[in-house]
């Protein structure tokens, strides 16, 4: 059983996001990159399946050079090998383009299962996993929260989330692409020392196939949404804020 996991580098939204002078992209120098959260869950699910089915896990790092750090972390967590797929900063968040760049490596790898997050923090268009499945002509289900595999490796059974807390159980033939919503358990922690160690010995295969030309997607304009903030901000330290809150709640008969 061969599993590939796609790990995209995206802006860390906890940090301040600075819009570039062109008004339609983020300032590359100011962005702190992290691995997309849903992709971290995809890696965790792959590692769970590896433990259950003696599978091999290939981590596929997408982005700039910092993607190599994500690959080292993936190997430290238990991934068996690593592929680096460089993507220029301006094309991140464009899933049509990502799918076109990724599909040669996904096709030639002969994977039974390809996992990636159902969404990415910076995506403008939806559906990397679905786009890949179409390019590879294999089944796809997204919003997946758990996977079980038939011992003979011919079928996967997934649980998929629906609105309102409902779950759907679906079965697909393999190979397949699954878009992961969350793993069965929180992504595992790995000490920095082990990541540093993995980085020293990391052997990364870089994808060299030239991507086909696709009509991609870019924002015409990017705006900070906090400019629309409407909350009345309560000034002062924690005690002063608590006092004001209690007053507001009492006025409304809540406390």
């Amino acid at each position: 059983m061969k599993i590939a996991v796609i790990l995209r580098q995206v802006p860390d939204v906890v940090e301040e996001l600075v819009i570039a002078e062109d008004g339609r992209s983020l300032a590359e120098d100011e962005v702190m990159d992290i691995t997309n959260e849903a992709d971290e869950h995809a890696l965790e699910e792959a590692l769970i399946l590896k433990a259950r089915h003696a599978a091999t896990v290939t981590a596929v790092g997408v982005g700039g050079n910092e993607a190599k750090d994500a690959l080292a972390a993936a190997v430290a967590k238990g991934a068996d090998d690593a592929i680096f797929v460089p993507i220029p900063f301006k094309h991140r968040g464009d899933n049509v383009r990502l799918a076109s760049v990724l599909s040669p490596a996904m096709k030639s790898g002969g994977y039974d299962l390809i996992l990636t997050g159902i969404w990415a923090a910076d995506q403008l268009d939806a559906g990397l996993a679905g786009l890949l499945s179409m390019r590879l002509s294999i089944p796809y289900v997204g919003g997946v929260t758990s996977i079980s595999l038939e011992p003979d490796g011919t079928k996967g059974i997934v649980r998929k989330e629906f609105p309102g807390g409902r779950l759907g159980v679906m079965e697909t033939s393999l190979p397949a692409v699954y878009g992961i919503q969350s793993a069965e358990q929180p992504p595992r922690y790995v000490p920095v020392s082990r990541v540093v160690q993995a980085k020293r010995t990391l052997r990364v295969k870089e994808q060299s196939e030239p991507p086909e030309v696709v009509v991609g997607m870019r924002a015409a304009k990017l705006i900070k949404s906090s400019s629309a903030a409407k909350a009345e901000m309560l000034p002062g330290d924690a005690t002063q804020v608590a006092e004001q809150l209690v007053r507001i709640l009492r006025e409304r008969g809540i406390a």
Partner: protein
């Protein structure tokens, strides 16, 4: 002038149209009316009966009927929709930015050679262009994309349009069609639908909720938050990352694929305000948000906000509430 076609792909469960369908119709209707386009509500179902005689804000309702279309099987939808959308000469397609719509985005985008713009919170026509505004990066940024000629697919964020405007006074004509292509040997089989198991605490029915996000940092901080919720006469609920960490059960998750709540008070502690969460709580009567990041998008929808340390505030607030109750 060629009549342009807007198609809303309906979502439904157990014979009922989902709120997102009405919200999409509201947005699509407003757009279609502003530019004189025709609007079709497209429903894929095994039985058209529940959808007959609904006063939907569309010029026409088309039901594609087949026994394989009872449950939202992404493979069945993805096989049928390209044929129908081509047949309807769709210029613009609305999908929900939900676990159902997102599953269709990639396959439809590829099959129809059309962009599938995600996270749409607003849409308007400017001359021949369609201008879509989307929330990205956890809601911190708004991206504007422009589409010229050709088909475009937009995925509408739940809560972006008023669902009441997705209905009107009259019932549009309804047409039932068979599937345009065989639905045998689908690569995905829908096995079963599992309804959520409710615990004793049903957050949808509790008037006071303390919503916790990643800003509460650790499971060890939960007891003091529980005490605060109890003092307020309410209960704890959480964002998806908190539930994914296993700190609270799935039934306490608020937002997309979780619960939609409308309490009298929603006290958001350490919640950033990602659209995935706010779509499930933004109709709350009073929203108070505490987050150290002054740019957190939760302040866009909160009535009151503060940027103090949540963990410092919680014990003080608990004491102040106790005092206030004692003085009554």
């Amino acid at each position: 002038m060629i009549q342009r076609e807007v198609v809303v792909v309906a979502e439904h469960m157990a014979g009922e149209l989902s709120d997102i369908t009405l919200e999409m119709l509201a947005g699509a209707h407003e757009l279609a009316r502003s530019v004189g386009w025709h609007l079709t509500c497209l429903i894929l179902a095994d039985d058209p009966k529940p959808f007959e005689a609904l006063p939907l804000a569309a010029d026409k309702v088309v039901v594609i009927k087949d026994s394989s279309l009872g449950a939202p099987n992404p493979a069945a939808y993805a096989r049928v929709l390209p044929h129908i959308l081509k047949d309807l000469s769709a210029r613009l397609v609305f999908l929900g930015n939900t676990s159902i719509g997102v599953d269709l985005a990639g396959p439809l985008s590829y099959a129809l050679g059309a962009p599938a713009i995600s996270g749409c919170v607003g849409i308007r026509a400017e001359g021949d262009r369609i201008v879509v505004t989307s929330r990205i990066c956890g809601g911190k940024l708004v991206a504007q994309t422009e589409q010229g000629e050709g088909l475009a697919i937009v995925l509408v964020m739940p809560g972006s349009f008023h669902r009441e405007l997705g209905m009107r006074d009259e019932v549009p004509p309804l047409e039932v069609r068979p599937v345009p292509t065989a639905l045998d040997s689908l690569p995905v089989r829908f096995v079963e639908l599992i309804e959520p198991k409710m615990e004793a605490v049903d957050v949808r029915k509790i008037p006071i909720l303390v919503g916790i996000g990643r800003g509460v940092q650790s499971k060890d901080n939960l007891p003091s938050l529980e005490i605060l919720a109890k003092e307020l006469g309410g209960a704890l609920c959480a964002t998806r990352p908190v539930v994914d960490q296993g700190w609270l059960p799935r039934t306490r998750q608020v937002g997309r694929s979780g619960m939609t709540v409308k309490p009298r008070l929603y006290l958001a502690l350490g919640v950033s305000g990602a659209p995935e969460h706010t779509e499930g709580m933004k109709e709350s009567g009073l929203i108070v948000a505490v987050n150290k990041d002054p740019e957190a998008p939760i302040f866009d929808i909160a009535h009151y906000g503060a940027t103090v340390d949540v963990l410092e505030l919680v014990p003080i607030l608990t004491e102040k509430i106790k005092e206030a109750k004692g003085s009554q």
